[in-house]
Amino acid sequence: MGEVIGSVDIDHLVLAAATAAQGATSRTVLEAVEAEFLGKRSELAGAHRSLGSMDEQARKSAGAVLNAARVQIQQAIEECRVGVEAAERSALLEADRLDLTEVVSSSIASPVRRGHQHVISQTQAELEDVFIGMGFTVADGPEVETDWFNFEALNIPPAHPARGMWDTFYLELGEPETVVLRTHTSPVQIHLMEDAVANDTLPIHAVMPGRCFRRDTPDARHLHTFHQIEGLVIDRGMTFVDLAGVIQTFTTAYFGADISSRLRPAFFPFTEPSAEYEITCTICHGEGCRTCSQTGWIELGGCGMVDPAVLHAVGIDPEEYSGFAFGFGIDRCAQMRHQIADMRALVENDLRFVEQF
């Protein structure tokens, strides 16, 4: 027989509550137990009310006993709650159980509807196909790179202001600022060249499509995640004139016979001589409009002869081999071709947008 307060046997009460909680088989039952033993009309609450008629000393000690009992009952209920919830979830899952080898094909209702490939992967495939037709293979590479592949081997040394040309996402891996989300697909060039040197499989004629990242606040024209395609040719006797020819052939093949290309001097650490690559404005066909700022030309990407420093970094002799590289945005091609006003539509995945392609 434990302490009795206001005609309530406290120990007995705690025991009864624990037993009731343990017997509960559902959350509903457990909530009822909680109400019965801890609610406003519970015996414990009644005992609490009886404190008012006690003297201060007795009230203090009885109050402490009641509080301890309340905590014990709460704990008992909480302990059971975890079990009950797990059991309920398990019962729910059991009722839901489906033998996936028991599916009857005629029972599946499937509306007849055409699916849609994402405009970016469609564009990527179209670009790949044009380059495949021109004799290029297609290479892939990782999205997480080290500073060596993304920068240094591309003639962008550490602590060099040129690194500021790219706003870079750095990862919390390795030494600070050594692991990056690639800012361009150019590191794939380094992988290809290093592998070709190691396996003695030069020359290289490849394009590299892929996802890239730059730490720019997204707006209607830029997303921080975007897709790029780059080309690399390393072979004997490759010149700037061959680069200009490849660019022109690609331009008419992809954009149409009435679209031309031009090169103008530019600077990239990994090519020398370098060029900016522009095409006839696809909106006005060279007449001049708002899109091309009345110039009749729009900028597509960069290109140039692979810098001898890059060839040195991967162990290719610039006296024997020369080469060129070019790159531009897949998303930008899609934007131009389909006149996508706001690039953010590409990642919203709204069906009304997706279904247009």
Binding site: R97, T101, D140, T178, D235, F240, V246, P265, V354
Partner: protein, 832 residues
Amino acid sequence: MKIPLSWLQSFAPFPSDVALLTAMLDDLGLVVEGSERVGEGLEEVVCARVLSIEPIEGADKIRKITVDAGGEPLVIVCGAWNFEEGDVVPLAPVGAVLPGGFAIAKRKMRGVSSHGMLCSAKELGVGDDQGGLLVLSDLVGSDPGVKLMELLGITADVVFDLSAEGNRPDAWSVLGVAKDLAARLSLEVTMPSFGVAAASGNATSTSASAANAVPSQCSGLTVTAAHGVVVGASPPLIAQRLALSGMRPINNVVDASNYVMLELGQPTHAYDLDSLAGPALGVRLAHPGETLVTLDGVERTLGLAGRGLGQLPEDLVIVDGDDAVVGIAGVMGGGATEIHEETSALLLEAACFDAMAIARTSKKLGLRSEASNRFERGVDPELAGAATKRFFEILSLTCPELTVDEPSLTAAGARAPRTLIRATPARFASLLGVDLDGETIGTLLGPLGFLVEHDGEFLDITVPTNRPDIRSMPLGIADVAEEIVRTYGYARLERRFPSWPAPGGLSQSQRLRRHLRAVLVGLGLDEVWTPTLVPETDAHALHLDEPLVTLANPLAEQERALRSSLLPGMLTALRYNADRRQDEARFFEIGTAFTHPDVASAPRSAKAGAGGGAATALPQESTHLVVTLRDNRDDATTAVALWWALHEALKLEEAELVQPIDGSLVPANLLAGHHPTRSALIRSRTTGVNYGLVGEVDAPVLEAFGVERGSRVGLLVLDVTLLEDSGLVPRRTLRATPVSRYPSSDIDLAFTLQNVTPAGRLKEALVAAAGDLCTSVTLFDVYRGQGLPEDRRSLAYSLRFEAQDRTLTDDEVGALRAACIAAAEQVGAVLR
């Protein structure tokens, strides 16, 4: 960089055709980002003297002004208050069209007719001040009726906004651009003269001292003292050119310094001689923690390592005779020694600092200036003398008493030897693809300051000092090749499509991905692109407790982690569409999922750090295919049907579905979010490799991503990388099986089977027993309920048999039927 055409034309008679110049500058690699006509619309604006100012009844913001503009007095209504009777102000008369196209007409305001408009500097496009009228009273010659353009010495002009590339330090000046243009147009460049500053007769070496404690980072510090300085406004031409170039005119001394920098590309700094402790300037490294309050009033702490370029603590500073810091070299001067109204003597600093040193300090301090922009790109080490001379020429225009202590004093530093490039014309041709002989190369490079000498078949090309971007041999060959082709004209290049014997094509894995896309689109699914960068909470919602790959510098907290599963992005896409009343969608994505190297089954490692000298573990990158099905009544059964289609399309004959899922052998991110009792693993029967999952998304996960509770979402996940790597997709070409000419026979068999035994077990037994003559085993009915024990269900299969060479007899089919029944009994099935 903004350059007024008139400034360019002061060096050579360039044409004024803006379109022609724009095309030419573009082709030279000096990209014209825009051009703006200025001074247009000012032709009609005249000086007007204010005769009287009267209030207008009922108006408290405007007043009635009567002016004398050289003819009859005119009444103008004006809202400005910064002038008095007798002041001279600009008047745009009726009929004038101000810059920006604002036409002035006769207007009536509060009953008073206004015959024109009195203008502010902003309205006229000659300054930024719009606080009141441009008051001209103090200018000599500001008589009523005088044209404003005459008074201010303004001519109509065109301002080009040019962008010069990082490898064109020479093009960061008006002179540099003029030289490029002149070379293209075969014009001579001549330096326009502003006169000569008077010499004091004393050399600066007798009046001041200079010290260079860091010869490796400062190739020369030139100091010149001058006296008789009167600080005031610059001449209108100087002030106007600065303003058009985007620099605010300050006073004649600062303006002269800025003018020289814009014109020649050499930053200089003038110190108030009397504020310096002794007539001395020196350059040294800052002591750790040294401070300086720069011109902009900000206290800068120097000489400390900081997040900049390479974490070096070094900063170059300019010090006075007491070794106290008075300037941050190449970046900004100190406030205490700046030129002020009472300055009468100055020390001019013109120096050449190491580009990396200035870039480092500028980045570390987060302080960029026109000077640091130029030093970062590389300043001609031989320019200090010419810049000093030009500075005093310009200053002498406003300081008739100016005397200069000539010659200047230079504390020399280490000077890199002149870059010499030695190559044959054929070497350049092998890069450029255009055959240019030595003479042509000389003609192309000569006007840019390159010295081209012939030595047998070789050319010895001496690089001018204003081209520090050109590297030494052998890398510099490419740099010079660019200069050759740039001046030759990219537009003139032939275009030749090269050919090579190797064919183009896709790799095996690229073909697989394309095939997957085609199959899924053919099945009516829509491809989505969901973010790579996701909140860390995405993984928590999937109960993925592995470490995540995270960004050190995310743009936003909800983009801190690299996704370890594509599922959250796809559920978010479902939610996005559901919020727009587009509840029904079937999506797929093929994309990269990342696994932290600490828990990766196949972590990558790659060269990292300076020189690629260290190896760093990198995340595992797997290509996942994830499908979420939420069309009408979609659930795990739809996912299974989709799986059948994929299974058939990819010829994944090895694959089987395994239930329940034992997660211990499967990468956690592949299993993420699946419904435990309504999903099955996709496993290779032969290798035991688990490479995917088919089923449903777990209800609490749907809830976590806001997909309406109660709806089911079918799920299919494939690790495409694993599928490729483990060779599960057969690479051999399919061999066609001939179609039988004989009729087939069907038998239907219904069994009861314990609920705990997967139907797949029974099917396998039937397939095995039915043998080679069986072409298909199809489940066509499942029944539970009345007439069956509670722990069993009925499964009805249809089996089709046929032979290539005969019609099967009833006996044959009967024997096969018996064999199938016997086999079924082995797995606990009972024929009904």
